[in-house]
Symmetry: C2
Subunit: 165 residues, 2 copies
DNA sequence: TATCAAGTTCAGTGATTTCCGAACAAACTG
DNA sequence: CAGTTTGTTCGGAAATCACTGAACTTGATA
């Protein structure tokens, strides 16, 4: 493992950690993006990332569960191989979408709550302002973002013909 | 504190925790969105959220630092007041933007790395495919999202005239 | 059968996080 | 001045997390 690779992997892992991905999972992801060949066995991963079989096993399982990584088996090969899921980054747009929806729901829950407990319209209006701002932002976003994603798909000539197995 | 409020606060706190905000900070944020009046003192917060002064003190400081909450002092009042930062949710669009930029930079770092180490163009092309997909997604997003934000600002008649103090 | 590699799971360790209570400091009030 | 309220900070308890080594399962091969 070269110095530059290590730097790239560690920096990427730190960035990913800052957005909630465990450090080791981040390292695996970063490595799977640059390795050759793209399919790596678990022993490959333990060797390149200098980590124990167990962390690799646990973290690959997590990455597979979250859809970032997929497991492929090649005929005539005993080992399992792991690789970045094709189209993962495109699909991550939908992940962002879900987060926006979460904020939207939170604002709606808050608005529903104060509508129930409000004594009079004036108070409701006053209390609702903060939530209203939040609601408007995420309502706009939840509505416009899919459009952006559509635009991406059209703008992108890449067919989703990804060779499987 | 009513039952429905508690439910709203705990659910919101759990959602926020899932995206990296500490539980207690999430509770404060959720409460500051629905409370009346919008400005709350630290004793108010400890009372409503049934938490110790110290957690409230620590977490409000963090929320202030991250710009989600601001501290206001009212003349003739000894206590400090805390409230949701006006325009916070609009500004959170820029936070999303920064995250997209982070992914873009990560893909660029990866591409730079394999360009250096590539033996021949064919291998480079093969190795680069995964990173290329990532790069294209986030390059598109980093370029288009600001436009979306602009659209939001135009679409939104709300002047940033938020009554201060 | 014995043997070896691949992979999972479990118990445990060390580091970190989240929260609290208590001690403390700072500022006002009588 | 003493007493009260406000807020911060420190030490520590409890929980969680990231990672490891070791025991175990599975399946292929000789």
């Amino acid at each position: 493992m070269q110095k530059a690779e290590e730097t790239y992997i560690e920096e990427s892992a730190l960035f990913l950690e800052s957005i909630g991905v465990p450090r080791m999972a981040g390292r695996i992801l970063a490595w799977l993006l640059i390795c050759e060949p793209p399919e790596q066995t678990m022993p490959d991963l333990t060797r390149h990332l200098q980590a124990s079989k167990s962390s690799i096993s646990t973290m690959t399982r997590m990455l597979v569960q979250f859809g970032m990584v997929e497991r492929v088996s090649l005929t005539g090969e005993r080992k399992d191989f792991y690789r970045i899921s094709p189209e993962f980054w495109s699909r991550s747009l939908e992940t962002a979408q879900r987060k926006f929806d979460g904020f939207l729901r939170m604002s709606q829950a808050g608005l529903a709550l104060i509508e129930c407990g409000a004594e009079n319209p004036a108070e409701l209006d006053n209390r609702g302002q903060r939530l209203q701002e939040m609601y408007e932002v995420y309502n706009f976003l939840a509505a416009s973002f899919p459009q952006l994603v559509d635009e991406w798909r059209r703008h992108q000539p890449r067919a989703s013909a990804t060779s499987q197995d």
